[in-house]
Symmetry: C3
Subunit: 347 residues, 3 copies
């Protein structure tokens, strides 16, 4: 391959198993959008919504599906999934210099903590005395690794991540700023009107290759662990309550929330702002659309929704007012049908 | 009582006022779920959903309601509220060693701050010059206690908690990581198209025994204080706007949000993701189910809801499309009824 | 004008262009609510809901609309927009002493960072080597300014704000505690069942005079920037995904969320808990009411809503159950109408 500063089109085609149409010797030095790409940059077209931008693109090459190739005025790399192919190529141009191994002098490491020689611990980090940081792990500034926590090899806590207690991260886990993993679950019992806190004695287990978004919270279990299997992808500001189980390869969009002891299957797609009630089970390969509330277990794969469509407010008011009378309307409709049937056939 | 490492069943029964069925001299050394408990562990059955797990349990004893006792293959402790009884017993086995009193050398305490001798201040804490930390209070690492703040006796800021300004915590308040209490309320006035910030001159008052979840935010008041009375329990990622009042013993589940100047009564249960509009009043002992939006004041105790049921997406689409025409449907239904009445009685 | 400790009523009237009714020489030394104001304090009446409190007020003066002046038992300052006038006056009494310029010895400034002499950097701040902090900027304790970030002149990061990477703030930007700006966008591509992370190569651009609430998250763009134009006001716990564009003077209430590449116009008002799906466009001067989900682009100014009204739970259950049959009801209603028309006119 050519140097990190540039790749020939035919090299890219060969490396990623894509068919190239045109311009094999041109060199690509970066990526950009269809609208802004320059002749030494690669662009992609995945969402047909943006196909109109093809016409005027000045990109050096465009990654796209074969069906769009004819309309592409510049060289094209054909991919069944242009977004995926783009993701692989773009990684060539990402610059994420790994920080040097070692512990920043401004970190506080309690006596007894085991930190691998190849790990990097940033300024103002705080690592508890019984914590373990494995080789190649990177803690950006302001991270807290509490009692009984383990950060697996090559995992990356970007900055200001808090692992409160008994959190075990697999390998290559990526956690963004502000996330809190392993806080007490919300367990309270009513004692004659006052609340009594229920001890939260479990932990959190996060599988390999998970990603956890900024300001997301994952509570530790009441007795057993809260579990994310491998390759679970959580966006920002998600709330995962105690003893939730999320199956491998499931992705959840921002602001979704899962209540205690719910079980979500593998390969699920949970939309933004979705809520899942406690103790429910969701099968594998279920999609929930944005801001739906899951109020019952879901046994079959498929797409599920709740909610009402957006309307102009004055129409919405009129329609919403009728929702309060829907049961009444249904009864009156049935009554009319009965009457209409009687009229037809009076006997 | 026996040593912290174990308790005899008859001791537990006596201590917590429960009836024991069988096995009085056996010793319990921990707690676990019905499914995983070993003979020296105690389990509980509160949610009948899990009653099937009784049959195969190997627990040393199960806390349960009398109605389930016959099906329990091991000794049982009978409780009217097994979850509450379990919570009390489990506290015996929780290990939360109190940190030693004193100020970590890596903390910054501004001159003038009053910190009780029995308080514990962790690494990287920052305490303003006019702040007060009372006896027995514990600040984990990375906490910020800003101007005019007071942390009451025995209160516990787990880690990375920010009290921005004019926040007064009662006694035994527990705040989890990432919570922000006392930030500016969201007060803006429109000045001919541009926004003008409205000064936020109030504070926040948090009563005794409140619990505040991870990454929850509670803004300080515009003029007077935002108030949580005693024993209010907030889960993670809750948003409480300026000048909200939450009555004693109310519990709110994750991701709920209360807009400015709303008043929530005592002993309320607010479900996950619930929204409460500004300036409303909610009476005592009101329950709001998950993801409902409270758009009007509620005078009477009871349970309230909004939203639509979850459906398979292709059915949901068909039904949701009709919601846009509900008012029209209601009018047409009334018209048919009128016509049908006329047909019956043409005069 | 009089000293900072007090202002005569006639001075206030003159300074803010308001008509004064009565008591010109009285002196005002602070602001308070109608119910609690003392004779040396100013109160205001903006929301007619609180007009009843006028009668018993002991305020030294009340800012109100002319229509309420007759009912005011104390001097009044007449304003077309009392809330706006109050906001301007209250600023006189706000005490926000600017911290002294300079870098706290407990901060970590990486070599190469450019920090203006007039900037103030608090304890435990961490500034990357290629970051720029302009004159008059204030970083409270525990702020992180990462690679490629710039904090514009007079901007204020209150405390524990994280600018992850490639974040450019304009002038006078105010960011509250716990906010995370510039984290990776949530870009994942499905690679035969496993997720592949899509590099997030863009940044975040925040215009002058923006305000960003506590624990709000704004991701950086995938290729180009996520953009907030000038004077955008975001409340707490808002989620702004990669490549979102928010037009000038738009305000968003707490817990709202905008998915990737959505474009929101200028002068919009987005209610609390609102969701906006990805790639949509919302025109200028659009209002979305609380907890609505925007599922399609909006071309025309106006107010838009979705959702259902709050009801007592037992009624709601009956009505919600009928929503699953709404399409069926609509068909049956149309059928009855057809039949009824035939009955009337059998030919």
């Amino acid at each position: 391959m050519s140097s990190p500063s540039g790749y020939r089109l035919d090299e890219l085609a060969h490396r990623f198993g894509l068919e190239l149409r045109g311009g094999g010797e041109a060199v690509i030095r970066g990526v950009a959008t269809l609208a802004t790409a320059q002749p030494q940059q690669l662009a992609f077209l995945a969402n047909p919504r943006y196909a109109g931008a093809l016409r005027d693109t000045r990109a050096g090459v465009v990654v796209l599906r074969e069906e769009h190739a004819d309309r592409c005025p510049v060289p094209a790399l054909l991919a069944r999934d242009p977004y995926l192919a783009y993701a692989k190529i773009a990684a060539l141009f990402e610059q994420n210099p790994a920080p040097a191994p070692g512990v920043h002098p401004g970190a506080v490491i309690e006596s007894g903590a085991r930190i691998a020689a190849g790990a990097s611990i940033g300024a103002f980090c705080h690592v508890a005395g019984d914590a373990v940081i494995e080789d190649g792990a990177v803690l950006g500034p302001h991270c807290i690794v509490g009692h009984g926590c383990r950060v697996g090899s090559q995992s990356h806590l970007v900055a200001r991540v808090t692992l409160v207690a008994r959190v075990r991260l697999g390998e290559r886990v990526l956690i963004h700023a502000g996330a809190v993993v392993g806080a007490d679950g919300f367990g309270i019992a009513n004692d004659d009107g006052r609340w009594l806190k229920v001890p939260q004695l479990g932990g959190v287990s996060i599988g390999d290759d998970c990603e956890i978004g900024a300001n997301t919270t994952i509570d530790r279990g009441a007795l057993e662990d809260t579990v994310l299997e491998e390759d679970v992808r959580l966006d920002n500001q998600i709330q995962v309550a105690h003893n939730v189980f999320i199956g491998a390869h499931t992705a959840m969009a921002g602001c979704s929330a899962v209540a205690g002891s719910a079980r979500i299957g593998r390969h699920c797609l949970i939309g933004g702002g979705v809520g899942v009630l406690g103790h429910l089970e969701i099968a594998d390969r279920v999609t929930i659309t944005a801001m739906s509330l899951v109020t019952r277990s879901i046994q079959a794969p498929g797409t599920y929704s709740s909610g009402t469509p957006l309307e102009e407010n004055h129409r919405w008011r009129r329609n919403a007012a009728r929702m309060r009378h829907l049961d009444d309307m249904a009864r009156r409709l049935a009554e009319l049908e009965k009457r209409s049937a009687r009229d037809k056939d009076p006997l």
